[in-house]
Amino acid sequence: MKIRSALSHLLKKCLIESLNADMQERMAQDIIASYDLRARTGFPPNIPMQSQTAAGRIVDDIVDAALVLHFVERLARLDQEGFMGRPYRVSGLRELFKQIGAEGYLWDSETSRFMEDPRIRRTPNWGRLVPGEELWFSLLRIDVVKNSRLVKVHGETAARGAYGDLRAILARVVERRSGRIWSTEGDGALAAFLFGHSATQSVLAGMALTHELFMYNRVYNKIGEPLRVRAAVHTGPLRYGTDVAEMLKQETCQEVIEAESKWTPPDGLAITRAVAGTLDRVLLDRFASRAESGGRALVYTVSWGTP
């Protein structure tokens, strides 16, 4: 996020009017671990620091570290919850939110975080994640069933066309629910959800995907046989990075890959117990346990009932 000087000035003004130097430093330490204001300014420990001096240094450092959104979120939490039992009022928060909104960010009240406005841009890190940041994500993993056979029988061009359609469908169901596609390499894809009730959003996206493919195979599919996909959702902590291959080595990614490859039938959507535990009953009731998973996953499929 490019920080305009007006926003930077406003942030400094908020700090000066609301918090003393020590409290400003405490807030900065929540965003940049082991942040040392004295070391940064060269002020000796025995000389009191003015609020203006602290705010100037901290905001400049926060801007340099590209952590302005994180810092404002922390101030918003301070304003709402106080600190160590003491209430704090951060003046000018409303104006800060307004300016950040003008930069193309929306406030997500579910997670108390800013996310990029999808009407303006859609980037894999929602315009705000920084590499190394560990957060609770929900992941939707999909894989095309018998991909190599599809290529062999129908040719690479036809298969590539079908995968292009699949990617368009996936983008639609994922981005509509504030998710982001992190990888579409080969015959698989990985999408991540962070905002709103992320586990529910990822399950809804997975269900929508199975529906879209049902219709696609009946109406639009030109390759002569159904495009079949396995999908799975898992939720857990993940350290964000720009190298998806590296992220895939983390446990949460490994679990969603395992759920997709081992426990999901073709055309099905599997959810792990971690996801199931967070779902509303009306959605959870659509899933059935699957013996093959040893109780570790529940599965949703589109099927026909009695007339």
Partner: protein, 319 residues
Amino acid sequence: MKVLVCAADHEDKKLAAFASRFFASCGSAELVPEAAFVRTAKKKAQAALVYFDYGLGEKRVLELAAKLDGVEDSAWGVVDRGGEAQDPAAFFRAGASDYVGPALFKAGFSPERLEAVFAFAGLEAAVCEPEEDAFTGWSEIEEGSEVAVRFCYAAVGNQKWLLERIGEKRLGKLRDDFAAFLESWSKEYGGVVWIRDNSGCLVLFPPNDAGMNPTLAALRLLLDRALIGYEVFKLEVPLTFRFAFHRGHTMWRKPGATGSIVSEDVNFAFHLGTKAAGDGYILASADAKRDIPDCIADLFAPAGEFEGRSLVASKRFKD
């Protein structure tokens, strides 16, 4: 001669409606996803005017347009509904024959304009002969005249059960919300919510498809019922729908002014929806059977007779 609209997504409803609304009466119009277009460009674009959605990206539009080089009797244009192109004239320098900006996209354009575009492109000009009975919009129909239409009775399903679970007040609100939902849903396919009764709505669709086929769209709603219940209506209980389709004639009156209509087909459509249709599937009269697209025809089976007319019913999705 035909018109193709190439977009990133086959589910781009606004573009589909655009294609149907502005081109359907002037010959064949089709929304083609980018991936399919790339595969079949040489064949599909023969004797065609191809509109590329600017949403594909300017560079991609020019790449796709280049695929038309050497294709017999083809021309291309750009649909820029958001007015994002910085220099629309650049398309003409690259060989385009038309540019549809936001105002034109919204307002639509006449067969005469399309004819002028064909002429400018050097394509056969005599392409815009609307069919005599082509549907030109509900507002164009003269009050009191008889029209051929497709009827669709649509209602929230399981209403007795819902009454017990969510109470009368919320069920009433759900019916209102569903009617509002149907307004926008049917509009996408050229339809209009015509008459509302205590439990559902009678929707009219034009005799020919304008965008997605309404029966297919209804099946889509049944498929998505859990998502719609949760995401659209914010329900904590399961939701389903019921649909009944019939094809026939009626005297046209605007929605809200239908009290004086006496029509056998309107009565039948209402009876079909309120007395014969069931929850979670589509019921269609023999007259509406021909409107069921081939791609879902195998999901329908004979379902006996009602008021002397034979019926077909779709399978139900499992809950």
